[in-house]
Amino acid sequence: MIVDVISEDKGKAFLFCNEAIVRGALEADVKVVAFYPGSPVSEILDTFYQISDKMEVKMEIATNEKVALEIVAGASMGGQRSLTALKSVGLNVASDTFFSLGYTGVNKGCVMVFADDPYCHSSQSEEDGRFFAEYGYFPLLEPTDPVEAKQMVKEAFEISEKFQTLVLMRTTTRINHQSTVVPLEPLNRTKFMPSSFRSYNRSYATVGSRARELKSELLKKRDRLQAEFENSKYNTITGDTSDIGIITSGVSYNYVLEVVRKLNINPLILKLGTTNPLPNNLVKKFIEPLKSVIIVEELTPYLENKIKALSKDVNPQLTIFGKESGHFSEANEYNIPIVLTVIREVFNISSEHDYEKILLDANKLKSILPVRIPVFCPGCPHRATFWALQRAVGNNSDKIAFMNDIGCYSMLLLNKKIYSKLHPDDLLLAMGATIGTASGVSLASEDKVISIIGDSTFFHAGLPGMINISNNYENVVIIVLDNSVTAMTGQQPNPGTGYGPSGAPKHKIQIENVLKGMGFENIVINDCFDTKSCIPEFRKALEEPGPTVIISRGPCALWNDRNKRKRGEKIQPFFIDNEICRKCHTCMRDFYCPAISMESEEGEYIEESGKTWNGYSSHISMELCDGCGVCSILCPYTDHENRSEKDVIKPFSKEREVRHDL
C-alpha cells in the first residue's frame, strides 16, 4: 500500500513488487524520475505519481520511453540521482539513446528498470532484454522477488556512481506482479538542492574518433564490472555436493527452490543475480566438478549459450540440460510443474506429481465453458465509436484495409467476430505503426485505409508518421481515439490531459492544433457518445480521396468514474422496460456492452394495433451500467432527446456508487 511505501517507522510491509521498487529508489534518495507507462511496470509510475510531491521527487510522465530515458540521463548528468522504468518494447523505443549512453556514461546514480513479458500477458512480442544489456555493455541485475528487487534497485544507484554507468535492473511480469512482505530500511530523504551541470565540466558527446576512444574505455569498464560481480552477494551457491548442478536466475529460482523441496533433494544451485557481465570465474568454478547442469531460465538460452562457451575451457564433457537439449521451451513462462518435470527426469527420481492428468481432467470439466475475452468497459467511448464506424463501413467491408494499434482499442482484434466488418486483425505491429503502415498500404493497394490511434499513442509514436501522411497527401482515414488519458495502462495523464503527477497543471496540447500545424485540411471532431451523428462523418471520410483525420472524442469510462468519485458524484444507470421491450436486440447487436445481457425467459409484448413481439428481452445490470446512455440512442423504441415513460430504455431512478478501488 502507498502509505507503506513512504512509511518512516515500519520495519516491514506487504508490498506489491512495483511498490517495493519505488521504496528502494526512495531509500536511495532518488531525485528525478520519468516514465512512459507500460504493463508490467506501470505501477512504478503510478506509485511515484501519488507520492512525488511529498517526497520531493521531480517527476515527469514523458511522451515516450526514449524521452523518459533522456530525461533521467540528463538529470544524472546534471547532478541528480534518477530512475526510469519501462517495458520490453519500451526499451526498443528508447534504444537509440540507450546505446549511446553506454559510451558517454552518466554522473549521479542513474537506473533503468525494464521488464520482459514472457507469455505476452500484455505485449505484442516476447522479448529477451538481457541482450540489450550485453550489446550495450551495461551492468544488469536480476531480482528473484520483491524483497530482492528493493535491495537491488537501491544498490544499483551505488554501482552506477562507482562505475559512472547507467545500471539496468531486469524483471519479468511474474516478478512485477507479485506481492510479499518486504523489509524496509530508513528513508533518510534529503532536501532537493539544484546542482550545476557546468560545475562538473564533463563531456557526454560521442561520435567518430571520440566514439572510438570511448569504446575502448567501455570495454575496460566492462572488465572491471565483471571483476566486481564475481563477488556480488546476489550470486549465491547453495546445496550439497552433487554431480548434477542447477543454474538459474530471476523468478525461475523460486520455482527451482520449491521443486527441490518437493522432490526431497538438495542439489547444488547457482543463482545468478548479476547476469551482465556474467561472473565467468564463479560460473566456471561451479561447473568444473559437475557431470551435468540444468539451466532454468525463461525465454532465450541467454545463460545457456554463455555457460556452454565457458564449459569448453573447464569441463568440455559437461552435459547441459536446457533449451538446446529440448528440456525447456523458449516460449511462454515457466511454473512449478514445468520445472519439476525436467528436474525429476534429470535426477532420475520418481514422484507422485501428475500434472498432465490434472490438466487433462480439468480440461474435460471446462469443456462447457464459454470464452471470456477482454472487452471495452461499460461506458467506454471506443464501443460507441466502433459501432458507428461499422455502420458507416456497411457493405464496403471488402474495400477497406484496417490498421490497428496499441491501446485499449487493440481489443478489437481479440473480438474480431463482433467487429468483423472492420477486419480488426488486418494489422497490429507496434506503438504508432498504424500510421506508417497506412501510408505503405495506400501506396500499394486501391483499398481505402482506415488507421486508428489513441491520443497517447498519437503523441508517443504517431507524430512522425502523421507528418509523412500530410506531406504525401496519402489516401487514408485516420481516427484519433481521444479519451483524454493513457487508458490501457491505468489512465495516466498524457500531453493532452492538462495535468500531471499529483494533479499539478500542465500545458495541455490540443490534438487538433497539432494536426493543423502539420497541414491537415480535413479535420473532423466527433462526440463519440452522440453515436448516430458520427456515421455520416465516417461515411464522408471513407468516400473522399486524400487524408481525413477524425478525432473521436469522449472520456475514458474508468477515468471518468474515478473523477466522479472524487467529486462525490454517483452513476445513474439505465434499465430496460421489459413490459414494452420489442425483443429486437438492436441495443446489443454490434454494440455488445458487458452490462447488457439477454433474459433467459421468453416474453411477449402486444402493441395497441395488435402487433405482437415475442422473444427474449435485453437486460441491463445495474451494478455494471456506467450510465453512458448510448444503448438508449441505439434503441429504435426510445426517444433519447425527449425521454418519456414510453421509452424502452430509461434512466434508473436510483443512482449507484462508483467503486472505491477505481
Binding site: 516491514k12 510491509a13 512482505v181 519439476l340 464459454p370 470464452v371 477482454p374 468497459c377 472505491h660
Partner: protein
C-alpha cells in the same frame, strides 16, 4: 505447512482488495505470504485471478496445479476456468453469480438456439472433483450488509470460516479498516460478519 488460496473472477469485481487484506494481515502477524496477481489487459471485463500462498516454504508466486486448499470464486464461469489449481476434494466458495461474457451474448443474438450457461451447470462439473462446495449469494448478502459493492468482503468473511484457514478471523477483520474508505468501514465489517456466518 503451506496454505494456498486461488481467487478468481472478472475484472472489476474487487479481487485485489481480498488479497490485500490477507497480505496486510500476514505482514502484521508475521506470516510469510506471496501473491501473484493479474494486471493490465485482462482487467477489462476479462478473466482474472490471484494466487495467494501462505507458509514458510513458499517461494513460487504461482500455486502448482492441484494444490489450492480453497478456490474462492467471485464469478462462476471463472471459478471453473481455474479448477486445475484445486486440491482433490478441496474447498470451493462459489458466488452464486454468472457474469455472462459478451461473446455469449453475441452467440445468442446471432443464433436463437444458443443458451447461456447456468451456475447449476458449473456446480455439476465441480461436484465431479469435490464435495466441499459452498454456494454463497454474495450480492444478496452485500445488499443486506448495506452496499452491493461489498460482495468481495462477504466472500472474505466466508473464507475466514473455512477449517484450516491459517489466519484467525479477528486478525483478518482488524485489517479491513486499513484498506477501505473511511465511510465504508462499517458496512464492510458488517459484510465480513455476514459472510462468516454464511458458512455452516
Amino acid at each position: 505447512m503451506t496454505y494456498n488460496i486461488m481467487t478468481c473472477g472478472v475484472g472489476g469485481q474487487g479481487l485485489m482488495l481480498v488479497s490485500n487484506i490477507i497480505g496486510l494481515t500476514c505482514a502484521e502477524y508475521g506470516l510469510n505470504i506471496r501473491t501473484a496477481e493479474t494486471h493490465g489487459l485482462a482487467q477489462r471485463s476479462g478473466s482474472i485471478y490471484t494466487h495467494i500462498r501462505i507458509g514458510d516454504d513458499v517461494f513460487s508466486p504461482l500455486i502448482p496445479y492441484g494444490e489450492a486448499d480453497v478456490l474462492l470464486g467471485m464469478e462462476a464461469i471463472e471459478s471453473l476456468r481455474y479448477i486445475e489449481f484445486l486440491k482433490p476434494n478441496g474447498v470451493i466458495i462459489l458466488n452464486d453469480y454468472v457474469w455472462q461474457p459478451v461473446q455469449s451474448t453475441f452467440d445468442r443474438v446471432n443464433d436463437s438456439e444458443v443458451k447461456y450457461i447456468k451456475v447449476q451447470d458449473i456446480i455439476e462439473k465441480m461436484k465431479e472433483i469435490t464435495t466441499k462446495i459452498f454456494v454463497v449469494n454474495a450480492l444478496e448478502l452485500a445488499l443486506k450488509a448495506g452496499n452491493s459493492l461489498t460482495s468481495n468482503v462477504i466472500l472474505l468473511g466466508a473464507l475466514s470460516k473455512i477449517k484450516g484457514f491459517p489466519i484467525p478471523k479477528e486478525q483478518l477483520k482488524s485489517m479491513i479498516p486499513h484498506v477501505v474508505p473511511k465511510k465504508a468501514i462499517e458496512v464492510n465489517l458488517k459484510a465480513f460478519e455476514i459472510g462468516y456466518e454464511e458458512i455452516k
